[in-house]
Amino acid sequence: MAVIEADAGGTPAAGAATPPRPSLATEMTRGDRILKVVATVAAAIPGGLVAFLAAIMLVTALPAIIFNGTNFFTGTVFSLGHLYTTNTVTHNGEVAPSGASYGALSFIIGTFSTSVIALLLAIPVSVGGVLMLTEWFPRRIQGFLSIFLELLAGIPSVVFGLWGITIFAPYMAQHVYPALSHIGTVIPWFKGPIIQDGEGLLSAALVLGIMVIPIIASTTRELVRQVPVLAREGALALGMTRYEMVRTVVIPYIRRGIFAASLLGWGRALGETIAVLLISGNALNSLPHSIFSPISTIAATIASVLDGALTDFTGMGIHALAELGLLLLIISLITNFAGRLVVRRLASGALPVGRGV
């Protein structure tokens, strides 16, 4: 057995993500080289897929971008047109069924309003909940309570949708929204009418908020654990209350990471499809009047309209949905890029991949 002196500088646990490599470089055999080539290709695939997704979306959307012009961003009527006649309209040299109009403003508003309300719920709940968890419970119970976070992260979006529309939204419409609508006399956004089963903007946003919690909460939990113990103890030694210690030591330390995780959570809320489609009331051509109005989002519209678009003999319906998809892709790539760049300097692994499992 070869006995090797442990390298004092390279503690494996601390430098886990990037073990110091150069010193361990060896000559490569033929098998090594084959493995390296295969692994290189595999490692390049995710980036390649991102490029592929963007390229296909852009190429497919191009005719619709030309046809729609600015109407895409300003129009509120999204209609595939008269699919059962052969009449067509031509605009900017592109052909679509007569009566077709692809204004996406109501979806853009629906997407942003639901996702922003979702974040308004998810950020304080995640941060507050995790602080409660980490500051007041012993390690063992923390592990147990973390199960609920994993539970939330693991529940499929279609199940969130089912729960939202059969249990949550009807309950809220009966017991909570009526009280909330009294604020409508002061702030018009809170004015009803409330749909009987509770479908609409607020229900969709609240369920989205619950779906986003695991992403922000799991990041917060990782970051809180990295807060230096000396700084914490110093604060307490100065006679601060636990709350003041959290405010002056913990929060400043984790702020940046929470901001980044919120961007990721926002990206996820923007792109969520099935749950929103089931809970939002799926209103195609109406701008929301209040937080109880039925709405639709970009992602939900793609899923609900595609079946109809397939019957469009000019193919413009497909292109128009691709333009929606392209817009969604661009927005979510921006939020993701921004979130990942913000935490570049933090320890790698602080931000979860995907849903925060």
Binding site: A6, A44, V158, Y243, S332, S348
Partner: protein, 284 residues
């Protein structure tokens, strides 16, 4: 402690009260959803669920379809993800590694409906596969690859450095080092990553709607022109149908999905916990 004034204490109590409410808002929905869905589905659970297909109020074809899709995802995304993670952990320079990791993470942020739509445009239409098992597998796999890349990378990089130094000192080629020295301790981490990735893929709906479509019949082995049923699809489609029996089946499918996912996730976590203890013992 006398010096702590009244306002400071009130403020602290208020803050922690809000935090406690926040923690409740995390825990209550998690429990409410799982318990609520399973309770609603309970009356619909009967042997018929396994023995009948969705054409006759069962879930057989959907369960089989979900399993087939999972195996497909494991073969495609699993292979790519594990090799990609291996490259980032063992071959790439820190700089290249961080770029590759970045793109993998960005891919995980792409909305699933976009992946489904591109799958429809490129596989179903452009390549002429029609609604197919393979189309569904590739769309699902695209979403899952980032999870596997990450868990594999973490699994390899948590192997103690002393083991690498030992194998380099013995003059082992890299391939042998990876296979004989690094893989055994990394394997539990890789497997638990795969298990959790499969759990996530089991819960996806959006990427499958326009690639795998749906079918009320048991899937055949054909890869192309062969729509396939899956559990989340039952919930999604039946929820939009009028009628109590559709709603009951939607609930049952959701409950089966949730149970499968929970078993997979906690199974994966168990493997991770055990491997962590094992690796801790290994370090010199």
């Amino acid at each position: 402690m006398e010096s702590k004034s009244r306002t400071r204490q009130v403020r602290a109590v208020l803050f922690w009260a809000l935090c406690a409410i926040a923690l409740a808002i995390i825990i209550v929905p998690a429990v409410a959803i799982v318990v609520g869905i399973i309770a609603k589905a309970w009356p619909a659970f009967s042997p018929a669920i396994i023995t009948h297909t969705t054409a006759t109020d069962g879930l057989q074809n959907a369960i089989v379809g979900t399993l087939i899709l999972s195996v497909g995802v494991l073969l495609t995304a699993g292979t790519i993800g594990v090799l990609g993670g291996l490259y980032i952990a063992e071959f790439a320079s820190p700089r290249i590694g961080s770029v590759l990791r970045f793109f993998s993470e960005v891919l995980s942020g792409v909305p699933s409906i976009v992946v489904g739509y591109v799958g429809y445009l490129s596989l179903v239409v452009a390549l002429g596969w029609g609604y197919s098992v393979l189309g569904g597998v590739l769309a699902l796999g695209t979403l899952i690859i980032p999870y596997i890349v990450k868990s594999t990378e973490v699994a390899f990089s948590t192997v103690p450095r002393s083991l690498r130094e030992g194998s380099v000192a013995l003059g082992l080629p890299k391939l042998t080092m990876i296979r004989k020295v690094l893989l055994p301790p990394a394997l539990p981490g890789i497997i638990s990553g795969l298990v959790i990735a499969i759990a996530i893929s089991t819960g996806e709906t959006a990427p499958l709607l326009f690639t795998a479509d749906f079918s009320d019949h048991n899937p055949s082995i054909a890869l192309f022109h062969n729509p396939v049923g899956y559990l989340t699809g039952v919930t999604y489609f039946d929820l939009q149908q009028p009628g109590a029996n559709y709603l009951a089946l939607a609930n049952a499918a959701a409950a089966v999905t949730v149970i499968m996912i929970l078993v997979l996730i906690f199974g994966g976590r168990l493997i991770t916990a055990r491997s962590r203890r094992m690796i801790a013992r290994m370090d010199v």
